[in-house]
């Protein structure tokens, strides 16, 4: 593969904190290698800003291998940028050419307040998990792991749902800022396993209740969440969540 260098114009959202008004700021970066990752391009920008005595752009990132779920940029109108099933940290600069302009914003959702620049507060997701996204088993009481055979297909489907990295792209991509894909991935992961069965009703209702409390919007089956999910979490999970929830409500489980 041929490698090349490019000069770019970046329009980046700057915001001091959630109590300040934000604005776009334009930067030029030069000599960007096509081999860099998108975040390495931001490293170059920040090094330049530090050298100029300015404040670097704040952005969340950690593992830089697409699994921790920390990175979260909205790039040219798309969560995690243009590549299918790819987090921002895995997006590489060979996507762009010399002279391009790139607009970078934070996740925009009332339930994800901006902390600074491109960094948002996603603790609402933790509170949703705390409301019921687990199996209540204490340490030290488990039976032998192979005492409970699990149908391979079910186990594989459960795994597929469990690959959610909790990044919040689904919320950012949704015009309603709904968190249904996130919630449904966790409910599916656990509902598809026999171990998750005893608590399936309270789990669905409690997690939905917490999701509403956090102010996430309603799901109107647009499907942007699935399209932008870096882990390819399927909309089928939302259908399953709806079934779980309706089943729980009609069987008289508390809401």
């Amino acid at each position: 593969m041929e490698h090349y260098k490019m000069n770019l114009t970046l329009k980046v959202w700057r915001q001091k904190s959630k109590d300040f008004k934000g604005h776009f700021e334009t930067f030029k970066v030069s000599d960007i290698s096509s081999e860099m990752s998108f975040l390495e391009m931001f490293d170059v920008l920040n090094e330049k800003l530090v050298a100029e005595g300015k404040e670097p752009v704040a952005f969340d990132h950690d593992c830089r291998e697409g699994i921790c779920g920390m990175c979260s940029m909205y790039i040219n109108g798309r969560a995690h940028g243009p590549w299918h099933e790819t987090t921002t940290c895995q997006l590489h600069m060979r996507e762009y050419k010399d002279g391009d302009t790139i607009v970078v914003e934070p996740w925009r959702a009332n339930s994800f307040p901006v902390i600074r620049d491109l960094v948002v507060d996603r603790s609402a997701f933790d509170r949703i998990i705390a409301a019921g996204g687990y199996i209540s088993v204490n340490t030290g009481n488990a039976q032998d792991a192979n005492a409970l055979p699990i149908d391979k297909q079910k186990a594989d489907e459960s795994f597929a749902a469990a690959t959610c990295i909790g990044c919040g792209a689904c919320v950012a991509a949704c015009p309603n800022t709904s968190a249904m894909l996130f919630v449904s991935a966790k409910v599916s992961h656990l509902a598809l396993l026999p171990q998750g069965d005893p608590e399936r009703k309270t789990r669905a209702t409690n997690m939905i209740h917490q999701m509403d409390t956090e102010g996430f919007g309603s799901c109107t089956n647009i499907g942007a969440c699935e399209a932008e999910c870096p882990k390819g979490i399927s909309l089928e999970n939302i259908a399953r969540l709806n079934r779980e929830y309706i089943g729980a409500v009609f069987s008289g489980s508390k809401d």
Binding site: M1, S17, S33, E35, M36, S37, E40, D43, N46, E47, V50, A51, G53, K54, E55, P56, A58, D60, D62, C63, R64, E65, I67, C68, G69, M70, T86, Q90, H92, I115, R116, V119, R122, S123, F125, D126, I129, A130, A131, G133, Y134, I135, S136, N138, T139, G140, D144, A145, N146, P149, I150, K152, A155, D156, S158, F159, T163, L193, Q195, G196
Partner: protein, 658 residues
């Protein structure tokens, strides 16, 4: 101070059982009065915090990320070992113990490692009960694969994201305790000091990374579960935020640092592509189950890999180590790759890479599928296609990741790989109870030095993190806290807290007021280069001596010329990073000092002066069969304490994988 490892007496197999049935307990009413601080929420921290919360302790957990689910354990790919013997291939607790001791090149404690092997089976049970979706066979039972340094299949996995699934399991357990009010969670908080009162660890100073405010937190005990320090090399497979700060602060408060020079260079990582590179990405060791590693037999061969015929390829691991082949331990595989590249046989534009080739796996699996599906006279393309599908199911996410990073399709051309810094076996010195020499201060998981000797086997880090958090510390903490039930919570206006906060604040102010010219990142890169060149895969006395002076000079420069923009009392990632790099600049020196005193080669520590004729590591059990535990005595002043390693069961021998 005399180092007491507190290994229980008695035969190896009954040490832990005896300990558990005789250790002191804290009754439920007293547990409610006892506060425990857990720093870090990876596998060790999350499992410890969740378990201790369940038991009734009042737990406070801290992480620097925005959520406990993001700790770097999440990036572990290949799997977790457990001596279940589900494959009926002769595995046992003893064999896992023996493999780990041998893999660590006889530099770990027998007692600790045996316990690790013993609880390994419980970990799998626990995780399955939590709903961790491990890979399964069609019969519904759990699937296994093999990893380096072993001849059995004992590795449990969830595609190439086992760490993610295990961490999510522990995280969900933690969130459950948070919702029950047993654990208070402090995300985006970084621990910057250990507070000691009357010689005991009684709390921490943490900085709220959103507001920049310093906070004081009391605990009857403090557990550091803060991971390893591979980022001292700048480029590593660690997450960008992984750091040594918590462990280093503990070290400066008196906790000994064990075997700091024992670092693991992982053989299969995507090679460096340029100066801009911020991190290196691992390709799981599990790939060596099916991939074959080779370089051309001819120097500077310019042909495309698939144009090089079979007989002109050098499968150097299979050639040098026929018994283990491509599944030799990591240190051995890394050195062998370096040897070939240094000799001029490397591939790719940088010539610092070797091939990891799946062509034969595609063919082998393809033929199996053809038979399974009853396809008569299948042509080559069909076999290949079916084989690719099998490999995709096993390692699909890794192949995708490789394609995204390099822009090449690994199903078509062999992967190019090169060794990179991955894990640190060294860490805070702890006894059998995982307590450092500072009473009340514990270290769990990668943050301690205890179980992997001079080299860790694949799929053993997840095992150790969860063993420490779920199954060890819940017992050993109680044994010590039982004597502390009369201690009331100490108010945080105690002079020790006030002083500790002032010290932290002064240091931050001092750093901010340098107002120099060079960025934190730049210092970190320069440190990384010194470490990689002189304290990396190959080390020698001359290089290490130079490195020590270079690091001292660099540290001086840092404290005179670093530029940190922004304000203290705000969200300021540059300031966070500056504190971490400042600590790396001290740790790096200690690592070189440690590497210099250990005049032998063992595991990941390869001193070029000490090797056999055919380039294998040459241990010196007479002189170096000890844990090097370093005590901090002031700037650049470290005193060595030796904990002799007594092997009662295993006979040490030259480690051979031939």
């Amino acid at each position: 101070m005399e180092l007491n490892s507190k290994i229980p007496a008695g035969p190896l197999e009954s040490k832990w059982k005896t300990y558990k049935s005789t250790c002191k307990l804290v009754n439920p009413a007293n547990k409610r009065q006892i506060e425990v601080i857990v720093v870090g929420t990876g596998l060790a921290g999350a499992s410890a915090a969740a378990s201790l919360g369940e038991m009734g302790y009042k737990v406070k957990a801290f992480c620097f990320q925005d959520s406990p689910r993001r700790a770097h354990s999440i990036a572990a790919q290949g799997g977790i070992n457990a001596a279940k013997n589900y494959q009926n291939d002769g595995d046992s607790t003893y064999r896992l113990f023996y493999d780990t001791i041998k893999g660590g090149d006889y530099r770990a404690r027998e007692g600790n490692v045996y316990r690790l092997a013993e609880v390994s089976a419980n970990i799998i049970d626990q995780c399955v009960a939590q709903g961790v979706p491990f890979a399964r066979e069609y019969g519904g039972l759990l699937s296994n694969r093999s990893f380096g340094g072993t001849q059995v299949q004992r590795t449990f996995y969830a595609a190439g994201q086992t760490g993610q699934q295990l961490l999510i399991g522990a995280y969900q357990g933690l969130e459950r305790q948070i919702s029950l009010g047993n654990v208070d969670m402090y995300s985006r908080h970084e621990m910057l000091e250990v507070v000691k009162i009357d010689g005991k660890a009684r709390g921490i100073i943490a900085r709220n990374l959103v507001t920049g405010e310093l906070e004081r937190h009391f605990g009857h005990a403090v557990l550091l579960c803060t991971g390893g320090y591979g980022n001292v090399f700048y480029l590593s497979t660690n997450a960008m935020g992984s750091n040594v700060t918590a462990a280093w602060k503990a070290h400066k408060q008196g906790a000994y640092f064990g075997n700091p020079c024992f670092t693991q260079i992982h053989p299969t990582c995507i090679p460096v592509s340029g100066d801009h590179q911020s991190k290196l990405t691992l390709m799981s060791e599990s790939l060596r189950n099916d991939g074959r590693i080779w370089v051309p037999k001819q120097k500077d061969d310019k042909r495309k890999p698939f144009d090089i015929p079979e007989e002109e390829r050098d499968y150097y691991l299979e050639r040098r180590y026929p018994a283990f082949g491509n599944l030799v331990p990591r240190d051995v595989a890394s050195r062998a790759a370096k040897e070939r590249c240094d000799a001029g046989y490397g591939v790719g534009s940088s010539k610092m890479a070797v091939y990891l080739d799946f062509a034969s796996a595609f063919e082998r699996y393809g033929h199996v599928e053809v038979r399974k599906q009853g396809i008569a006279n299948a042509d080559k393309a069909t076999v290949y296609k079916l084989g690719v599908a099998v490999v995709k199911e096993k390692y699909g996410n890794l192949f995708d990741m490789y394609a995204k990073i390099t822009g090449e399709d690994p199903y078509q051309v062999p992967m190019r790989i090169y060794p990179a810094v991955h894990y640190t076996m060294g860490g805070l010195w702890v006894d059998y109870e995982l307590m450092t020499n500072v009473p009340g201060l514990y270290a769990l998981g990668e943050a301690n030095f205890s179980d992997h000797g001079a080299n860790r086997l694949g799929a053993s880090a997840l095992m150790q993190g969860l063993a420490d958090g779920y199954f060890v510390v819940p017992y050993t903490l109680g044994n010590n806290l039982a004597d502390d039930i009369r201690t009331k919570a100490i108010p945080t206006d105690h002079p020790a807290f006030v002083q500790a906060e002032k010290d932290v604040n002064d240091r931050i102010e001092r750093m901010m007021n340098i107002k120099g010219k060079e960025s934190v990142e730049s210092f970190h890169k320069r440190l990384g280069k010194i470490m990689w060149d002189k304290c990396g895969m190959g080390r020698n006395a001359k290089g290490l001596t130079e490195a020590i002076e270079e690091i001292k000079a660099l540290r001086k420069e840092f404290w005179a010329n670093v530029r940190i923009p922004g304000e203290v009392k705000s969200f300021n990632p540059e300031l966070d990073k500056a504190g971490r790099v400042a600590d790396f600049l001290e740790l790096g020196e200690l690592m070189c000092i440690d590497a210099l005193q250990r005049n032998e080669s063992c595991g990941g520590h390869f001193r070029e002066e000490y090797q056999t004729e055919d380039g294998e590591a040459l241990r010196d059990d007479e002189k170096y069969m000890y844990v090097a535990a370093w005590e901090y005595k002031g700037d650049s002043q470290y005193e060595l304490h030796k904990e002799p390693l007594n092997y009662e069961v295993v006979h040490t021998s030259a480690r051979s994988y031939k």
